[in-house]
Symmetry: C2
Subunit: 287 residues, 2 copies
Amino acid sequence: MEFKDILKEKASFINKQLDRFVPNCIPEELSNAMRYSLEAGGKRIRPILVIESAKAVKEDVNVEDFIDIAISTEFIHTYSLIHDDLPAMDDDDLRRGKPTCHKVFGEAIAILAGDGLLTYAFEVISNNKKLSAEKIVKVINILSHNVGIYGMVGGQAADILPNFKDVEFIHLNKTAKFLSACCQIGGVLADATEEEILKLKNYGINIGLAFQIWDDILDEIGDEEKAGKRLHKDKDKNKITYPSLYGLEKSIQIAKDCVEKAKNEIRDLKKPEFLIKLAKYIISREV
Amino acid sequence: MEFKDILKEKASFINKQLDRFVPNCIPEELSNAMRYSLEAGGKRIRPILVIESAKAVKEDVNVEDFIDIAISTEFIHTYSLIHDDLPAMDDDDLRRGKPTCHKVFGEAIAILAGDGLLTYAFEVISNNKKLSAEKIVKVINILSHNVGIYGMVGGQAADILPNFKDVEFIHLNKTAKFLSACCQIGGVLADATEEEILKLKNYGINIGLAFQIWDDILDEIGDEEKAGKRLHKDKDKNKITYPSLYGLEKSIQIAKDCVEKAKNEIRDLKKPEFLIKLAKYIISREV
């Protein structure tokens, strides 16, 4: 089986689990907007990272004990996409080939659907009754730190400010820290040692950087129809990217180096195979 | 000392404590926007409710053990104001007599400042090292439930939808549940019994409803200059309010009834005096 298909199988498992936790509230417009964006698809890479990082450090993890926590990372990812697509932000009309949330439900409901999904993630995590309170607090701490002002939100703010030129800061904060948080959380859930959690953290940062640099590259050379979204928008907006700074060839080399670092970090874990394959896969994507 | 001045003194204590936790991040535009809105003033009623609810059930509470948690409720309140004021939502240019966040920093940074404050609240709470993990999880659960899709976010969504006509649902969810959550959290922090927490919960719901109905009334009869914000906007927008549904006199009676219910709920707690005075104060406000 190709790794691409293994990933698809895992994403389809996540989609089934997601159904159990999709929020349902009043007013129904809010519910519909959240569901619309959650069900728009995607690779579900964050929940997969939580589960696979746990499996990398411990053989007999019971995924059912923390599936709610894994799914919550997808709530947060979806909130970030909804807000990023808003007219005041990246102003995107299409996401995964479908109209963006605000295009369908209006800006106000889209803002609230994002706020709602972010808050709901913490509600779902704090509702978990199977894990110790110590683990839950640690998970919430890692997650809120890395998706907040010292992570994703800070990275997104830097990304939209025209005078902010540090592209590594942007990629690290906007993308890599959240992916890294998912890896760390998997470690915490599987009773990893501090040393193992640090390895997972570094692995996550490096695949995150590789992922985002590769996205920059695909944005420059990819096929818009295959991608299901507008490409070349970085160039259109005069954004600084890795290819614009270093050229295509050097950018590819930097992404490859990140993948090497990521693999080296975790190769001593008990079962690192999946994470190693994932790291390699990131820089083989074609759209 | 008049109760109004007692409240001012407590708000000034909260303002001093807030300084210790004001977030500071890169990019500085994001930091500045969060600080601007946090320092725009306000009654700080939510942190006060956390602290006073704890004191109502237990004589020797150590406020320093949970001041971070109390302050976090103000982060969440401030995020909700920033997002509510956005052009796509209530479209307000002034808040407490000052230009709103998006007027000063632009819409994109305002959206992110809100997202950042919301996430930072959970980071600060999960950073607390003085309380048991069990208490922290309970606090996060109560808070996220009541400010999310089953509370404040749901209420705000209902409020902006022109076809949503249930004003009690809106007030209950948009305002009362968050205030009630603060009271419950105070109880949890002070080791209240389940019964005491239920009393605090009901107290909070009732003062919340009274507060919002009174705001409806003041929006109709208040003085715009004194209030430091645009009034009569409910009428301008053809929003359903208590006065528009029941008339002024009956609305005042409903608010008074809520205050009576609130007082009755908590009069058997160990030290209910402050909470009783606060309930009465809510329907004596003049702007």
